[in-house]
């Protein structure tokens, strides 16, 4: 409680100054990103182990996925990463309106991503290309592969957890729009936007790996 009257209202009393508060928040976020990398890392290890055990089945089962939908989602997600970075750039330069527009575009891109993901999932549910014991698709393509349900187990868990992150990211971006519109975030204090930005770019990085590993291995 040692701050004098000139301290900004967004500076918490347990921090020495604004810069220390900013750096501490950011390192905390990177600690969280570390745990995220390990969470998804476990699934990437599972992918590698099962692909090493079933190399031909993975390459054949991959043909049951729609490359175009995956490609559109990649472009949408990279575009949303750009607009997220631009939202931070805009608020640093006191362009509140531009920042709000960029956050809104990011939000819409996330919604498009989940919409396309829904179409993909719906198609697979309809065909019975489902994980584990729920698998029931016996079409002609699977005559030359053993155990394609393993591929779909890993596909659904990895893209599903990633989709959950996109949905949570949408909530966080909506929260940022609310804060920015209420002038709680401004050029002197935009730490929440910076941190959500880091989270959003991590979601993009994970998709950058999921796209070739699931859609492009044929």
């Amino acid at each position: 409680m040692s701050h004098n009257k000139s301290s900004p209202d967004f500076l918490y009393h347990h921090f020495y100054d604004v810069n220390q508060q900013y750096e501490t928040s950011k390192l905390g976020m990177w600690g969280f990103i570390l745990t995220e990398v390990l969470t998804f890392g476990a699934l990437f290890v599972a992918y590698t182990v099962y692909r090493a055990w079933n190399p031909d089945m993975f390459i054949n089962a991959n043909l049951l996925l729609d490359v175009n939908k995956g490609l559109i989602n990649t472009i949408v997600l990279i575009g949303s990463s750009l607009t997220m970075a631009l939202a931070i750039w805009a608020i640093q330069l006191k362009k509140k309106k531009l920042s709000l527009i960029m956050l809104f575009v990011t939000f819409i891109c996330a919604a498009i991503f989940l919409g396309i993901k829904y179409l993909e999932y719906e198609h697979k549910f309809h065909l019975g290309q489902l994980p584990g014991e729920y698998y029931s698709y016996m079409g002609p393509e699977i005559a030359n592969m053993n155990n394609p349900h393993i591929f779909f187990s890993i596909y659904f868990i990895m893209t599903g957890l990633h989709g959950l992150h996109v949905a949570i990211g949408m909530g966080l971006i909506a929260w940022l729009m609310y804060l920015t519109a209420r002038d709680k975030l401004h050029s002197a204090y935009y730490t929440p936007m910076e941190l959500v930005g880091i989270f959003w770019h991590l979601v993009d990085i994970i998709w950058i790996f999921l796209f070739p590993l699931f859609y492009l291995i044929g």
Binding site: V18, N19, Y22, K26, L27, W30, G31, I33, L34, V37, L38, G41, A42, F44, V45, T48, V49, N54, P55, M57, N60, V67, L71, T74, I75, I78, G79, S81, L82, M84, A85, L86, W89, Q92, E133, Y135, M138, I142, A143, N144, N146, N147, S187, A188, Y189, E194, G197, I198, H201, L202, D204, I205, I208, F209, F211, P212, L213, L216, I217, G218
Partner: protein, 139 residues
């Protein structure tokens, strides 16, 4: 107040996004060319390049205090340890006891309406022997 925060020129963001879109196109294009095992190597190299670019520029790691970069690189090192130790088990199970290398049942019971095949789609019998005239085993 925030003068210590580096503001990155707008141009850099657009160049970075352009490179990311370009590499996405390249990785899709390469996937349609059959290069054998090199396909997965190239796909992962391109994905790694894209992820590095996103981390350095969009996540501002290039301009940040280096402790953040250390946290991120550490996470990748932990992941590498995780991957190497797990694979050193799962890939070498047959080295000690060949009987535990392959699953007892070749595939799940709900595929029973289909003929049993090997990894290349050639039919095999329940006892594991290949059918005569197997085209893949001539050489």
């Amino acid at each position: 107040m925030s003068e210590h925060h580096h503001i990155i020129p707008l141009k850099i963001y657009f160049i970075v996004a352009g490179i990311l879109f370009f590499l996405t196109g390249v990785t899709v294009w390469v996937s349609y060319i059959d290069l054998g095992f090199l396909n997965i190597v190239i796909a992962l190299l391109i994905a790694g390049t894209k992820a590095t670019i996103v981390a350095l520029f969009f996540m501002h790691l290039l301009w940040d205090d280096k402790k953040n970069l250390i946290a991120f690189v550490l996470s990748l090192m932990f992941l590498a340890i995780f991957m190497i130790i797990t694979m050193s088990d799962t890939e070498f199970r047959g080295a000690i006891n060949p009987e535990i290398k392959d699953p007892i049942n070749k595939r799940a019971a709900f595929y029973d309406s289909l003929p049993l095949t090997d990894d290349h789609g050639n039919p095999i019998h329940e006892d594991g022997s290949h059918e005569s005239g197997d085209k893949d085993d001539h050489h």
